[in-house]
């Protein structure tokens, strides 16, 4: 099973070297600023900014394309519906259907915002090992219980995903085909989900013991964070400035 958001965390680029804490602040601010944008004139600026960040991060184009595939379907549906549904000004007619100007513009606006925010998210989480990102959140005040839960969940998603694959294979090899909806199918699938949950619970008990025996909860240590360099600060100021600029341009 390959999900790795941080498959390209080992690359080298200015974004990779950016102090995770500052990267988190900067890019989050930018993402939030993006979600405010309504003005059409600002869309090209957003797109260019995003492209610049992705380019600077030196992440492969393939990565972006793959990641866009799943949510792309949603976008396509929107693209097919909105121009016909919403608006007043008729731009064109296709048979009985009207294409509305407002709907069309809304689609453009939504798609650009969507793609830009998603891409920045990829830059944010794709350029550092995942635990570095969580550490950064922790140093910004994410409660320790939440941080521990996030790390542990991520660690075991892969393992429990493997359980799931094996169990499904085993069921298939005993002739199980879940094509028809009936009580039997539902019961077997519930037993599959239930077994998965029970196995995970049993594992969690072992994991907890192992954590305790290595001193879990002994002292809330301060997490080691390297000192920001000048370059980190400059990059942060630039990004925050950009976010502020976009916000101001949107409001006035």
């Amino acid at each position: 099973m390959k999900l790795g958001i941080d498959d390209y965390a080992q690359l080298e680029s200015p974004i990779h070297q950016w102090l995770p804490k500052y990267k988190l602040i900067g890019l989050t601010a930018l993402i939030l600023a993006f979600s405010f944008v309504q003005k059409l004139a600002l869309l090209p600026l957003m797109a260019v900014t995003t492209a610049m960040f992705y380019q600077t991060a030196r992440l492969p184009f393939k990565f972006w394309r793959q990641r866009l595939q799943i949510p792309g379907t949603f976008l396509a549906v929107l693209l097919l519906l909105l121009p016909f549904m919403a608006g007043e000004t008729v731009l064109a007619e296709i048979g009985p259907l009207n294409i509305y100007r407002e709907g069309l513009l809304a689609v453009v606006q939504i798609s650009v915002r969507f793609v830009c925010i998603l891409t920045l998210g990829l830059v944010l989480f794709g350029t550092a090992p995942f635990f570095e990102s969580i550490r950064a959140m922790r140093s910004l005040g994410l409660p320790p219980i939440l941080a521990d839960m996030t790390l542990l969940t991520y660690r075991y998603i892969f393992e429990i995903g493997d359980y799931f694959q094996s169990m499904r294979t085993a069921m298939k090899l005993r002739g199980f085909e879940s094509h028809r909806l009936n009580w039997q199918t539902l019961k077997h699938l519930a037993a599959l989900a239930g077994s998965l949950i029970v196995r995970s619970y049993e594992k969690s008990e072992q994991v907890y013991k192992a954590m305790l025996l290595r001193g879990y909860g002994q002292n809330m240590t301060v997490i080691y964070q390297p000192k920001p360099t000048r370059r980190d600060s400059v990059l942060l100021s630039l990004t925050l400035g950009l976010a502020a600029g976009i916000l101001l341009a949107e409001v006035f």
């Binding site: 949603f74 650009v112 969940t153 429990i160």
Partner: protein, 213 residues
């Protein structure tokens, strides 16, 4: 069923984050009041992972199939850990599969998490009504599961329709929301049955997993 980036106007996005912050804070406060809050962390984490994976199970609903949400069951099993669990689950949906989005994380967490907490309270009714038989628990499980998904569906369509850019009048909006929610009723009921089956499975195999009072 997640709201992706870019759709909702910024005020709603921010409100979502504020609300999520508040509910998370409250959940953590309740967790920290427990005798040994850290003891629940590995359990909640691994179950979050398990729920994440279990949502890959597809139930055949010819001619297509639906996948489970299980937020009701999550509330049932995890109690106050459910909200942080859902928040984390959604974060992973967003960064691993690009389901939902980073900017809409707050809104989505409220949409899934508040119904999960509701489901938790529904299941806790077993103490009020002193339900100890597996059938009774399964019935509560049904309502927890159906309620968990049902409320989430309602919130989902309300947010989506009322925030469509340009044009629909209030009456059409209401009609659309009701219509779409009703169209999902079979799925809601299916989720209820599935949750009921799961609750009785867990009760028979690992009763200590069902939360104590």
């Amino acid at each position: 069923m997640h709201i992706p980036d870019g759709i909702l106007p910024a005020p709603i996005v921010l409100t979502g984050y504020a609300g999520t912050g508040l509910v998370t804070w409250y959940s953590l406060r309740r967790i920290n009041r427990q005798e040994n809050p850290q003891a629940g962390v590995p359990k909640a984490s691994l179950l979050t992972a398990a729920f994440f994976v279990a949502s890959w199970i597809h139930i055949p609903v010819p001619p297509t199939s639906v996948h489970l949400i299980l937020n009701g069951l999550l509330g049932t099993l995890l109690g106050y850990f459910a909200f942080p669990a859902i928040l984390i689950g959604l974060l992973f949906q967003a960064i691993l599969f690009q389901h939902g989005g980073l900017s809409t994380l707050g809104v989505n967490a409220l949409m899934m998490g508040l119904p999960a907490i509701a489901a938790h309270y529904i299941f806790q009714l077993r103490y009020r009504f002193k339900i100890t038989q597996v059938n009774g628990l399964a019935i509560l499980g049904f309502f927890s599961g159906a309620m968990g998904l049902g409320l989430a569906v309602l919130i989902f369509f309300s947010l989506l329709i009322t925030n469509l850019p340009a044009g629909l009048d209030v009456r059409t909006e209401q009609a659309a929301i009701t219509g779409l929610a009703l169209a999902h009723l079979p799925v809601v009921i299916l989720e209820g049955f599935f949750t009921a089956l799961l609750v009785s499975f867990i009760y028979r195999v690992k009763p200590e997993l069902l939360p104590q009072r």
